[in-house]
């Protein structure tokens, strides 16, 4: 009995945490109908990803499985599920909230970590090569304006983004 009560507390604690995050507030409205999974282009071709399952595990408090697993990173952010959810659960946004929590725990795929470094270093996630920059006048494009890297770094330091990324880099 005591164990069951504890379990309930844990699961509630996790879904409340998700709920309090940007993007996460609608998670508890899910009634597991599966409209999301049947609208999902990824779930159609692999059993490694199922949006309904991610919501279910989160509501059951399976924090470790959700945050350290591969699954949350397999959402292709097409928003089909969110568009069609009869309960108005913002599923794609809930997955962003879960990814944000995973990042804070240090679970982040290398690719995303590279994106984060690129933002901090260049203010852009895709670097514009010298070749492309020099090619512009030849094909009739105006020169590129400077990127606001300094302002961006101030923003990244105000949100703590740069610190989290630094910790991640040091840990790996």
């Amino acid at each position: 009995m005591e164990y069951k009560r504890m379990e309930k507390r844990t699961s509630l604690a996790f879904s409340n945490m998700v709920k309090s995050r940007l993007g996460g507030k609608t998670i508890t409205s899910c009634y597991q109908c599966g409209t999301c999974a049947s609208s999902c282009p990824v779930a159609k071709i692999t059993d490694k990803f199922n949006p309904r399952e991610i919501i279910k595990l989160s509501l059951l408090g399976e924090r470790e499985e959700v945050l350290s697993g591969d699954s949350i990173w397999l959402c292709c952010s097409c928003y089909n599920c969110q568009e069609r959810c009869p309960q108005k659960v913002e599923i794609a946004d809930v997955i962003y909230a879960l990814r944000n929590m995973a990042f804070e725990k240090g679970h982040i795929p290398n690719l995303y970590s590279e994106f984060a470094s690129a933002i901090i270093n260049d203010g852009r996630i895709a670097k514009i090569s010298k070749f492309m920059e020099q090619k512009r006048p030849a094909i009739g494009l105006p020169p590129l304006q400077p990127t606001g890297v300094d302002a961006l770094r101030k923003i990244l330091s105000a949100t703590g983004f740069d610190k989290l990324q630094k910790e991640k880099e040091e840990a790996s």
């Binding site: 282009p41 097409c78 928003y79 494009l141 606001g148 923003i155 105000a158 949100t159 983004f161």
Partner: protein
């Protein structure tokens, strides 16, 4: 002349000068002035939203502030940028608490989001500011007999509650604008389904499978080309065909053209001025068909 602050983003200047060229040329011909502002950054698309949503909203809001300061509405060519910026604009306009939180962050960079401007995808500008009728009248080289498979990409339409662009299940704007050029916008299976582009680099196998389906379906429907609005969809479907060739030993040779490129051709702009050599899949068969 209507003026807009152009938000160029990263992927277009980094990889698709063909898109930027056609966008600039076509919009100029139709009387839309693009203003290049200094100090813009990345728009903070899904990869940044995935790492920290608050940071992504702040970065997007910072860029909108630059347009506000210049007293201009903002225009994007990239659908990814459109989604990040238009979504942020709508969220911050609607939610006072969120706006206060973001403004606290922006104050460190000397900015304050006012919520006084709009963010529009260029397709919206074509529809609202130029209008389908005027585009029809401006066409000097109709794309007659060209069967175009339109693919609007996800982030032009969804989340519709925030983007408010077109009906997310039965959109018409893009198809109407294709037909305004004299081409035929054809139907094909799973037209609105994602291209899988955002899984590239993380789960390439899955991304390619999803992209392949789009090529199978447009080929079956007899398309002469696919038309895109987003540099990621373009990359996934154009360069993706080379990867699909090596993985599945299947060759589609399906030309992929951005709408701005089709528009430029229909407006009579010389194909030699459009840097079409940046396409991985040659577009000759489209040029041949339109004569």
């Amino acid at each position: 002349m209507t003026g807009y602050a152009l938000f160029l983003g990263c992927t277009i200047p980094a990889r698709q000068p063909n898109y930027e060229l056609s966008g600039r040329k076509a919009l100029a011909r139709l009387g839309i002035e693009l203003v290049d502002l200094a100090n813009m950054t990345c728009c903070a698309p899904p990869p940044v939203q995935s790492i920290d949503f608050e940071t992504s909203l702040s970065i997007a809001a910072y860029n909108i502030c630059l347009a506000e300061e210049a007293d201009l509405n903002m225009i994007t060519l990239c659908t990814g940028c459109f989604e990040s910026l238009a979504m942020t604009n709508a969220m911050l306009k609607e939610n006072e608490k969120l706006r206060e939180d973001v403004n606290r962050i922006l104050s460190k960079a000397g900015k304050e989001f006012q919520g006084s401007k709009e963010v529009k995808h260029y397709l919206q500008v074509l529809k609202d500011d130029v209008g389908v009728e005027r585009i029809k009248q401006s066409v000097s080289k109709p794309l007659s007999n060209l069967k175009v498979a339109s693919f609007s990409g996800c982030h032009l339409l969804r989340p519709s509650e925030l983007l408010k662009f077109d009906d997310p299940e039965r959109p018409r704007i893009f198809d109407d604008l294709i037909e305004a050029l004299g081409a035929k916008s054809i139907e094909y299976r799973n037209k609105l389904k994602c291209c899988g582009g955002l899984l590239r680099g993380y789960a390439d196998d899955l991304a390619l499978k999803i992209a392949r389906e789009k090529l199978v379906n447009t080929t079956k429907a007899g398309a002469d080309c696919i038309s895109t609005l987003c540099p990621f969809c373009f990359l996934t479907l154009d360069m993706g065909q080379l990867m699909i060739k090596s993985k599945f030993q299947e060759e589609y040779n399906m030309p992929v053209l951005h709408y701005a490129e089709l528009l430029s051709l229909a407006l009579g702009i010389d194909p030699k001025e459009l840097a079409l050599e940046f396409h991985k899949i040659r577009v000759d068969r489209v040029l041949y068909k339109i004569g």
